[in-house]
């Protein structure tokens, strides 16, 4: 088979995995090796595909042949599709060729389960070893750890990769049982625990001696498919929170389920991927990681799903009006962060600026505060913004109006679906 065909098949089979960042590791150039990961600290996008997603890594499967039969997956055993497998050398040359041309920041390697998890991981290790050792590749590598792989092999994989990920895929055990019968919850969480331990251990050893082996220095991430099962947003977000807390995950990615197969247990093939829901989950995830929110504050048992018409932060704020308005000149950092329209960067700018000057609403705008949201929740030197009119009763409607103007067209469509439904 031509390399071009293989690439088409194996990138097509990999594209539903949402994880595509290259963040969290800084490795300088080393003599005799190709590349560095210096722009990977914050993640570097090398292109944007027609769906608006960032392209940063050569995201491919080593092989799309799979002995498992996960119902939601195009690569499942029972699906009639063209199969292909890269040789380790093809993969290494492709990565180097793309990297030299600055097409990519590195490689994201995953694979279908070839014979069993151990055999598959051995093949991945062979490829990455060739790339790191013979081709001297020093750029970013993200490798997928397949549930069921032995500890020793995961350890070796982690020595070659910057980041590992084990996909949760379906956010509940019931979902797994019905849709991914070859996978179990414990098989997913075991490698996560191992990766957490060995990353921490390697970090500790590195502080003591410089040449200690580096195990997955950029930590681990995971992804969940949203909308293939009936799990609520609250359930998903609390799961993410416990993954951040317990397994020290760097990122949880959410992937709106795109119907690729017909199955009685799955949404019908003409269902649109729930992009708005995915968007809300990412917004809430952001609030967990950078704003000090807890999942339980954002969603309750009586309101287990996000309000499609409002972003999660506004939604929280209108439910907690007793905490507002916040005075810009005196509120502490945590309080400022809770104001819709103020983020970590603008909050820090406010703290610095108010020491040397009395701030006005215009000043806040210049500092990056999104005033059209924030105005309802703040006072500046004791005063509300002049000309602002609202009451507790009208506030929600006004915020929804603002939100509607900002959603991408596809998501507005989904919003109108909600509205016609009730």
């Amino acid at each position: 088979m031509e390399l071009l065909d293989k690439l088409a098949i194996l990138s097509d089979a990999a594209k539903y995995d949402a994880a595509c960042s290259s963040s969290g590791v800084k490795r300088q150039f080393q003599a005799g090796r190709i590349g560095n990961t210096s722009s990977s600290i914050a993640g570097c996008c090398h292109s944007f595909s027609a769906d608006g997603r960032c392209v940063t890594l050569l995201k491919v499967l080593m092989s799309n042949a799979c002995v498992y039969d996960c119902k939601y997956c195009v690569n499942r055993r029972s699906n009639d599709t063209r199969r292909a497998t890269f040789t380790p050398r093809e993969l290494a040359e492709l990565t180097i060729g793309f990297y030299r041309r600055n097409y990519i920041e590195g490689l994201f390697l995953s694979s279908g389960v070839l014979r069993d998890p151990d055999y598959t991981t051995e093949q991945m290790i062979r490829s990455l070893r060739l790339l790191r050792q013979e081709y001297r590749f020093n750029g970013y590598i993200h490798a997928k750890a397949i549930p069921g792989t032995s500890e020793e092999l995961i350890y070796q994989l982690g020595l070659l990769a910057d980041r590992l990920s084990v996909n949760v895929e379906l956010p509940s055990e019931a979902g797994l049982r019905s849709l991914a019968p070859d996978k179990t919850v414990s098989a997913i969480f075991r490698p996560m625990g191992q990766i957490r331990e060995q990353t921490a251990q390697s970090k500790a050893e590195l502080t003591r001696y410089k040449h200690a082996p580096r195990f997955a220095p950029a930590g681990q991430s995971t992804q969940m498919i949203v909308g293939a099962t009936g799990d609520s947003d609250r359930h998903i977000l609390r799961l993410s929170q416990s993954l951040y807390d317990k397994y020290r995950l760097k990122r949880v990615f959410y992937s709106a389920y795109v119907p690729v197969v017909e199955h009685t247990l799955l949404p019908s093939p003409d269902t649109k991927p729930p992009l708005l829901r995915e968007h809300r989950l990412y917004q809430a995830d952001w609030l967990l990681r950078f704003y000090g929110f807890r999942a339980e504050e954002l969603l309750t048992e009586s309101q287990p799903d996000f309000n499609p018409r409002l972003d999660p932060k506004c939604n929280w704020a209108v439910g907690h009006l007793e905490q507002f308005p916040v005075e810009i000149m005196t509120a502490d950092y945590e309080r400022l962060l809770r104001v819709p329209g103020i983020g970590p960067t603008s909050a820090k700018r406010i703290l610095s600026a108010r020491r040397v000057s009395r701030l006005t609403f215009e000043d806040l705008k210049k500092m990056g505060v999104v005033l059209k949201r924030a105005q309802f929740f703040i006072t500046c030197c004791g005063r509300q913004r002049s000309g602002l009119r609202f009451s507790d009763a009208t506030l929600t409607g006004q915020l929804e109006q603002i939100e509607r103007g900002e959603l991408p067209p596809g998501e507005v469509e989904q919003l109108s679906l909600f509205e016609s439904a009730g």
Binding site: C45, A50, R53, F98, Y103, L364
Partner: protein
């Protein structure tokens, strides 16, 4: 003695600008406009400033003494495409001399804020270009072109020299007609009027095919979202990106961007006119070859 309002004409270099500040304080002349080498039709008196490196050094030192950050800011903003940037920078330096550096804590300060905005704009472009620069392999030398609004080449230099330390490469800035060259641990930036690239070999064509194929395949059709794509990757970047170009684009494209309108090239800080004249009348490609 009162300050006279005057137009400064200088060579467009950073040192030249510092010398304008020097002359301004020496002669008590307040700039109402800055001109580069283009014709200057002002009714105001014109002060022609000759660049003296010693004067430039003294001005820079006086700024560093008040705030090292302010000096760094000055150099960065000078690379941006902000309109009337010399006037903004002059006002900034004046305020620094008069009040010290305290106002730098407040990003909404009326003198400081325009600079902050210009730098944010440039940083945005810089961050994008780290990813969007595309190289092709021309007989073992990697080469790429960009069309930035700001003069980002000096700021991209460190990143690419470190990433491709083992390679020889060049990046040509079509807008400002400057070429960054790197080989064997040494890099330099020189003005080059136009760059004509020859069609690379079959291996390069094959990589272009592979990349275009990957780029097309990786998009999920049910999620097509051009608006989102355009926000993250404005169209103006795509002129130099492999995935949007014909396979043999070198055969179709000719050298630098033609200067648009006189207004567009009137930005005095871009030293295109003068520097370009200093380049020997050889083609850009051979300039590259001899410089490597």
């Amino acid at each position: 003695m009162a300050w006279t309002e005057i137009v400064f004409q200088y060579d467009g270099s950073f040192d030249g600008f510092l010398c304008c500040i020097y002359e301004s304080y020496l002669n008590k002349e307040f700039p109402i406009a800055f001109y580069g080498d283009e014709e200057c039709f002002s009714l105001y008196a014109v002060r022609l400033v000759i660049t003296e490196h010693e004067h430039a050094r003294r001005v820079l030192r006086s700024i560093v003494k008040r705030s090292a950050r302010a000096a760094e800011l000055l150099q960065k903003v000078f690379l941006t495409c902000m309109e009337d940037k010399e006037l903004h920078l002059y006002a900034f330096v004046r305020k620094l001399y008069a009040e010290g550096s305290r106002f730098l804590k407040n990003q909404s300060d009326p003198i400081y804020h325009p600079l902050v905005k210009a730098i944010r704009h440039m940083n945005g472009e810089l961050e994008k270009l780290r990813g969007f620069v595309r190289f092709s392999d021309y007989n073992g030398v990697l080469g790429g072109e960009i069309e930035p609004k700001n003069r980002v080449l000096p700021l991209l230099r460190g990143h690419f020299c470190s990433r491709y330390a083992n390679e020889s490469f060049f990046i040509y800035d079509r807008t400002h007609r400057e070429l960054l060259l790197y080989a064997k641990g040494r890099s330099r930036i020189l003005p080059v009027d136009a760059l004509h690239l020859t069609l690379p070999g079959e291996e390069e064509m094959q990589y272009r095919r592979l990349w275009k194929c990957f780029y097309e395949t990786i998009a999920i059709r049910d999620r097509t979202n051009p608006r989102c794509q355009n926000t993250h990757m404005p169209k103006r970047y795509r002129n130099t990106m492999t995935e949007f170009l014909p396979l043999d684009y070198e055969a179709q494209y000719q050298g630098a961007i033609p200067p648009k309108t006189p207004a567009a090239s009137a930005n005095p800080a871009v030293p295109t006119g003068k520097s370009a004249l200093e380049i020997p009348p050889q083609s850009g490609r051979s300039a590259v070859a001899s410089a490597l």
